[in-house]
Amino acid sequence: MSGTKKLALRQRYEYLTRGLDWETTYQPMDKVFPYDSFEGIKIKDWSAWEDPFRLTMDSYWKFQAEKERKLYAVLDSFAQNNGQTTISDGRYANVLKLFLTGISPEEYQAHRGFAFTGRHLRGAGARVAAQMQSLDELRHLQTQVHTISHYNKYFDGIAEWPLMHDRVWYLSVPKSFFDDARSAGPFEFMIAIGFAFEYLLTNLLFVPFMSGAAYNGDMSTVTFGFSAQSDESRHMTLGIEIIKFLLEQHPDNLPIVQKWVDKWFWRGHRLLGIVAMMMDYMLPKKVMSWKEAWDIYFVEAGGALFQDLGRYGLKMPKYADIATAEAEHISHQNWAVFYQYTHAAAFHTWMPDNEHLDWLSEKYPNTFDKYYRPRWEMWAKMEKEGKRFYNPALPQLCQTCQIPMAYTEPGDPTTICFRSTQYKGDTYHFCSDGCKDIFCDEPEKFVQAWLPVHQIFQGNCGGATVPDVLKWYHMNVGADNMDYVGSPDEKLWNEWHAEKLRQAG
C-alpha cells in the first residue's frame, strides 16, 4: 500500500482503522479470535469488507457531543416547563412505560453484544463499526433513561424498570429475544440484530415509538428520536453491509444466512406485536395503523430489499406471508391479552371509546367489526355492569417467543393456534409454525427458556398466589397495574387539567 501519492480519503480511513491490525504470531490467531468459526461461516478475505461509514474517533466525539448538548438542553427545558402536562392525554405515558421496561434494556443488550462482535470478528474494519454501534447503543439506553426519568417522577409503572425487565412475565418476550441473540455466535448476532432488527425491522420498532411521541406532544422523547436518527442510519448501513459481505464471501454461507434471516424475521415479527398494540390501542393520537405500517415498511420496503438481495440467492423470509396476514389481527389479540391480565401488567389498559372503535373499523375493514369489535363492546358492557373481565388463570406460553398462546390459526381467526413437538421425552408447545421451526432447529437451546408461567408454578417467583408474584415483581398494586380509569395516573392528569382550565378562566 506504500506510495508517494497522497492518500485518498478512503485509503486514509483504512490506514486509521484496519491498518492498525496485524496477524498475531506470539499467540495463534485462532486463540485470539476463538468464536468466529463454529457457526460454519466462511470468510475468504476480510479485506473485501466495505466500511459502511468512515468515522474516525475524533469526528465521532465531535458529532456526538454536539448532538448530546442539544438533546440535554431540550430535556432540561422539558422538565423545567413541566412538559409532561402538555402531552395529548395521560394514557400516553403508558407507551413510555412499555418502552422503558421492554425496549431500553435491549438497547443495553445491543451495547454489550456489539462490544462482543467489536472484539471478536476477525476483520478489523467490521470491528471498528461494531464498536461504534456498541457506544451508540449505550447512548440510546442512557438517553432513554434520562428522557423518561422525568415522567417517572409523576407516573407509575416506570420506577422499577430493570427489576421488572428481569422478572415480569411479558417482559421475558423482549428479554429472551435478545438473550437468544447474545448467546448466538458473532455472525448470527450481526444478522439477528445488525440486519434483521436494525435494518429490516427498525422502521417498525424505533420509528413508531418516535412518531407516536411526535403526534402526542412528547417533545423530549421525539427529540431523542431525532437525535438518534443519524446513529440509526449508521446502524442500518452496517446491517446491510454485513449480510452482503457474508453472502459475497462464500456460497456455503447462503443456507446459514437464510436460516438466520428466517429465524430472526419470525422472532422479530413476534416481538413487534407489542408495537402493533401500542400503535393501534395505546397512542391517544394515532400515527397510522399497524397494518398500514406493516404494508409500507415490510411488504413494500422489505419486498424491495429482498428483491435486491435476491441476486445472492437469498429469499424472502419463511412465513412472511403468514406474518402479513397476521397484521390484520395481531394488535387486537395482544390488547385482549393485556386487558384480561391487566392486574399483572405494569401499565394501564382501557377499552377503546366509540371514536377509537370507529377508527379501528375503518383501518381494519376485513377483521375488526367481524372479530374484535363485538368482544370490546361486550367487555365494555361488562365493565359498566361492574363485572370487569379478568382472567384469573395463568396462560400457557409459547416455548420460543414466550407470548401467551392467544394467536389464531392462519386463515381461521376463531381458532387458537397450537403446535407442539417432543424432545427427549418432553412435550413443548408453540404459538405458530414459525416458532416451532425455530425450536426444532435448536432444541437444545430453546429447552433452556426461563418461561415465566412455568417458573411461577415451580415456586421460583415469590410464591404461589398472584399477590405473592406481584410482590416479587415489585408491582405497586393499584398504581402500576389495572385500568387507566380510576388509576392515580388518571387522577393526577385530571388535576393538572382542571388547574389549566381554571387558569384559563
Binding site: 448530546e68 448538548r69 442512557q142 428481569d166 433452556q448 392515580p488
Partner: protein
C-alpha cells in the same frame, strides 16, 4: 436583587427510580450518572447459555476470579455517562486539532532533524498498534465484564485507544506528507524490530486472557501504567529537536492518561479492598504485569535512549509505587 422567573412547581411523586433510591438509601434526587449506570445490566433469569461459552451466562460474575458482593461498588469518580464522556473528549480533541494545525502550519516535524524523524518513525509510530491492542482489550472487558459501573467506562476507554491510535497515525501522516509510507514502515517495525518484540508479545498475550478483571489489571497497570508513560514521557529525549512538537501532538495522551488513571486506580483499589483474597489476586496480577511491561520496554528504552533500559526501569518503578498506593502488596 435577583431576577426570579415564576414557574409552576408540581410536586413529584418520586425523585428517582426505585433501584437508584435503594442504593442512595432514600428517595432523593439522583444524578444523571447514577440513573444511567446503577443496576442497568440484567442480573437474573437468563434464558440461554451462550453457544460459544456454555459454562457461563452472558452476564456472569464467575468470569473473573475476584469476588465482589456488589459490582456497583467500583464506581467511576469521573461520573462519565455517554454524554459527559463525549463532551469531555470533544473538548480535548479541540485542543488536539489546534496542536496538529500549529505543528503542521509551521512544518515543525518536517523541519526536524533526520535523526529526530528517524527516532519518531522507529520509536513512536509503532505505538499505534499498542493502542489498537488496548482497544481490543477494552472491548473485551466491555463484553465480558460484570456490571455497568465498570463496563460502561470500558467501552469509553476502547474508543479512547482507537482515537489515540489515530492521533499517532496522524503524526506519521504529517511526517510522510499524507502518503502512509511511514505507517507501513511502522507496522514492519512493530512486527519485526527486535526492540519492539517483547511489547508485541505482551499485548498478544493479553488477547488470550479469559479472566476479565485480570485483563483489567494487566491493561491498567502494565500497559497504561508502564508502557504508555514510558512512550509519552520517559522517551522524550529520543525525539531530540522534535521533542516540543511531539509533546504538543501527544498532549491528548498525557491528559487522557491522568484522567483514565483516576478511574482505573479507583476500580482496582475498590476491588482489592473488598477482601484479602481479592487483594492477593490483584497484587499478584499487578506484580506480574508491571514486571513484564518493564522488561518489555527495556530493549526499546535501550534502542531509543541508549540508556541500558534505565527509562523503562524508572517507568516500572513508578508503576510499582502507584500499585502499592492502591493497597496492593507488590
Amino acid at each position: 436583587m435577583t431576577v426570579q422567573i415564576k414557574t409552576i412547581d408540581l410536586e413529584p411523586k418520586r425523585n428517582t427510580f426505585a433501584h437508584v433510591a435503594r442504593r442512595l438509601g432514600a428517595d432523593k434526587p439522583a444524578s444523571r450518572y447514577q440513573e444511567a449506570t446503577l443496576d442497568v445490566q440484567a442480573t437474573e433469569n437468563f434464558h440461554y447459555k451462550p453457544l460459544w461459552e456454555p459454562e457461563y451466562w452472558h452476564y456472569d460474575t464467575r468470569k473473573t476470579a475476584v469476588v465482589m458482593a456488589d459490582w456497583y461498588k467500583p464506581l467511576d469518580p469521573r461520573q462519565f455517562y455517554y454524554s459527559t464522556y463525549n463532551i469531555a473528549r470533544a473538548n480535548m480533541n479541540q485542543a488536539a486539532e489546534k496542536n496538529f494545525a500549529f505543528v503542521d502550519e509551521r512544518g515543525l516535524l518536517t523541519k526536524a532533524s533526520a535523526q529526530a524523524q528517524a527516532a519518531i518513525r522507529r520509536g513512536l509510530l509503532p505505538v499505534r498498534h499498542l493502542h489498537w491492542g488496548s482497544n481490543m482489550n477494552m472491548a473485551e472487558m466491555t463484553q465480558r465484564g460484570y456490571g455497568t459501573a465498570v463496563t460502561a467506562p470500558c467501552i469509553f476507554s476502547a474508543g479512547d485507544h482507537l482515537g489515540m491510535a489515530q492521533y499517532v497515525s496522524r503524526i506519521g501522516l504529517l511526517l510522510d506528507g499524507q502518503t502512509g509510507a511511514t505507517l507501513d514502515e511502522a507496522k514492519q517495525t512493530w512486527l519485526n524490530d527486535a526492540a519492539w518484540q517483547e511489547i508485541r508479545r505482551l499485548i498478544e498475550d493479553t488477547f488470550v486472557e479469559r479472566d476479565w478483571f485480570h485483563l483489567f489489571v494487566a491493561q491498567a497497570l502494565g500497559v497504561n501504567g508502564v508502557l504508555l508513560p514510558f512512550m509519552y514521557k520517559k522517551a522524550e529525549a529520543a525525539w531530540t529537536d522534535a521533542a516540543m512538537p511531539i509533546a504538543l501532538l501527544t498532549e491528548f495522551m498525557n491528559d487522557w492518561h491522568a484522567e483514565e488513571a483516576r478511574w482505573s486506580d479507583s476500580v482496582i483499589k475498590t476491588v482489592a479492598a473488598e477482601s484479602d483474597a481479592n487483594k492477593a489476586l490483584v497484587s499478584e496480577w499487578a506484580k506480574t504485569w508491571i514486571a513484564r511491561a518493564t522488561a518489555a520496554a527495556k530493549p526499546l528504552s535501550a534502542a531509543l535512549l541508549n540508556d541500558d533500559g534505565a527509562a523503562a526501569a524508572a517507568a516500572g518503578a513508578e508503576a510499582l509505587k502507584k500499585a502499592a498506593s492502591l493497597g496492593l502488596a507488590v
